[in-house]
Symmetry: C4
């Protein structure tokens, strides 16, 4: 009996290690988590394709089957996680640990996702809720080099936050200036496009980001001269943050090398 | 009486510290200035939305009320500033100090803004004057890390001003070359779009900044080949200043570290 | 007779050195290889132009003649390579060396290209197969500074692969978010453009890469506000990888200098 | 008489110093050259505006007058340069020096420009010849910090020429690949837009440079997926050269500092 208990506990521990990335001793994802990543991605693609009516009508049953399969897989995973969660803190009481997990943010989030996947009436239009299943990938991605890269990038961005904020302020100022100028010059000629500053702002954003849909553009000579100046300023709007980020990333690498030199 | 005077002087000093960022001992903005920033931003949003006729007709009274409220708040602030300005130079005569402030650039600017906000006949169409209230934010932003970021960015830009100027000259040269080429090739075929160099220049600017509205584009094979070359050159027009700024910002950071190492 | 054999072997060796860049003692390409590069480029331009029906009908014979000429030149080159390949490993048996070369990947690839060029019924529509002749340029480009530049660039990109991958993930996340938002807001108003997430994704990609064809754009106020946010995020999508690459290239140069200092 | 000769020679020397930037002892441009820069710029603006028929008919006489004035100013300058050129090499024979100057590239170029400006029948359509007068600015710009900036920028670009060339090759490869793919997928559906690889190439260039006029874009699902991949690759096309240039400029600054440290 003790031997059976021991074997049972061993199985539970290895299942826990398969499910929980932080409990793993080896590098990389476990086979189970790789499978769950795949399932989550298939689920996301299904959600995206399902919104297309032509595909929905043609493959309704396939989509339904995929959803049910994903729901069942997630449900099995949830049950296994509840069962194995006591491995996280071996000294705590098993029922308390399990209830704590179920009513934790992660547990409730998982339950919500399972319910939204399995109950047909919920899934009707809740596209975003189902896309939110992608957030589960973050839990799996917590470890490894990708998260190290995230930390180094966000540190670099954070260290230059005031420079980036300033660029944003300058950009907003230029947007307002350009939009007001075009509102004056072309407001009366193209009232549906430049008849108010909010309307002109749409033009200013689409121009300064160099997107240029072509739904709105100046037609007078003065308007075109002002738009040209805004367009050139738009280059600066792209060049400034890019330059700031490049310098920040470069600095982060240098600092990193410096740290290594000290060790 | 002396005690009352003293208390009165204390109040004046603390009001001054609330209004004037440079007189503050603690970091960050005072509650009063935070409130004034909020009021200024609400004012800017109101001005922008007011130009939209559909909103103006629907919410005319609300807009009017906001404007009057902002005008009153600014008027109260102005009176308090006039009253407390003698704290700036305690040894100068109080009347002289106050008159000097009223007739200073800042004082006249504030008065103009209050008048343009409160007098309905002035505000009729003076959108820009009212947007100029945003300039008041600069006075509040004079301190702190944002202004430090501004100094470091503008120093970096200034140190590379000849490189950036040269890029601008090269860009203008390329614009002229491209516009002249298209004027020759497509001037006769699309006279309203490429019939003169000024018209072609509009196309050249919108192409080299990679905006590409789509109102003007070449339709002949030769024109398309030339436009393709201009388009690739446009990539350089974006890459050059971005690279220059990146190097300048990177250099500024290095220099800063060097300075720190010396201290 | 021995003298004739010797002379014959000398010719073969010098032909081999003309054909094989790695067997050359001097810097740069041999005259033969320069000629073959030119022939390959002429071939590529011919393939591209041939797809244009107006040119094909007008210059069918010219195109045919060029193809046959290129096929013959490549055939002669192939025969010479088979003849001289024994110079690569002088000690191996000559027949074995030659058969090995013919049935190697390079040999079969060359044969395929010659056949696809000379046999008219094969060339009918196989545009890509004929453009694949450009791949032969890689064999010639294996040496020299261009390949050194390729190694240094790909090393720099490789060293930041997790940062770049992360940027790609963030971009895909933003694309999904933006597309879903527009699908909600404008799906009912412009069903052919935003009626499903896949349709919205086309808009999101073309907007975040700042291309902006103008075939799809939001027309409601809420849609335009969301699109503006996506547009600004698109600037980040360009600025992040550019900054990462700039820092990586800068770091690679520094490391290179460091290596030189050590030697 | 000797005194008069002396005075005459003094005048000639100071006129020469006014005209020739390299002969000047003080920093910056002489008043004469500043005036000539202004005249040249006015001339360029006149040429550009003159091509616009509406302006040409309204201001024909003004344009004519400006042209004649510019021609006369340039003629006077030319005569003065011929007169003072013997100051360049005081020991050479004066007639030989002057003839040498007239028949030098600079001299012939100046003469051509004067003739093209003054002779009405020449100027009829020679827009480019007249815009070429801008090239004369280069002679004046030979000195100073702008030319130093040009040298430092072109050295940085030159030092990374193989990396930039490689990026260009990769870009051309991607353009061909994308254009061929769209030619296959949409050639039959939009024959006027993707019916041949040259036509598809126009789309590929305008897409990869993120211009996106909107005159050509895919309409099938497969075409849109391929176009999305090309669009993302287009980001790389901008990010790669920008990153290379940023690193090169950064490296140039570092090297410059190193040189200063050594001195």
């Amino acid at each position: 009996m003790a031997s059976s208990d021991h074997r049972f506990s061993d199985i539970r521990r290895s299942v826990y290690a398969e499910l929980e990335p932080t409990a793993r001793t080896r590098q990389g994802l476990s086979a189970t988590n790789k499978f769950l990543v795949l399932v989550t991605l298939i689920g996301a693609v299904t959600v995206v394709l399902e919104t297309e009516v032509t595909l929905q009508t043609a493959y309704a049953n396939l989509f339904r089957a995929i959803e049910v399969a994903i729901g069942l897989i997630f449900a099995i995973e949830f049950v296994l996680r509840v069962w194995t969660i006591i491995e996280a803190k071996p000294n705590a009481g098993s029922l308390v640990s399990r209830l704590k997990f179920i009513f934790s943010f992660d547990g409730m989030f998982d339950l919500l996702i399972i319910l939204s996947t399995l109950l047909p009436f919920v899934t009707a239009n809740l596209v975003l809720l189902r896309l939110f299943r992608l957030v589960r990938l973050l839990r799996i991605a917590k470890l490894g080099r990708l998260s190290k890269a995230f930390r180094s990038l966000s540190e670099a961005v954070h260290s230059r936050r005031y420079e980036l904020l300033l660029t944003l302020y300058l950009a907003i100022g230029l947007l307002l200036l350009g939009a007001t100028a075009l509102y004056w010059v072309e407001g009366a000629i193209q009232p549906d496009k430049f008849g108010s500053i909010p309307r002109s702002l749409w033009w200013a954003v689409i121009t300064m980001t160099t997107i240029g849909y072509g739904d709105v553009y100046p037609i007078t000579s003065v308007g075109k001269v002002i738009a040209s100046l805004v367009a050139v300023a738009g280059i600066g709007l792209i060049a400034m943050p890019t330059g700031i980020l490049a310098a920040a990333f470069s600095d982060a690498i240098q600092k990193h090398h410096g740290d290594e030199d000290l060790n």
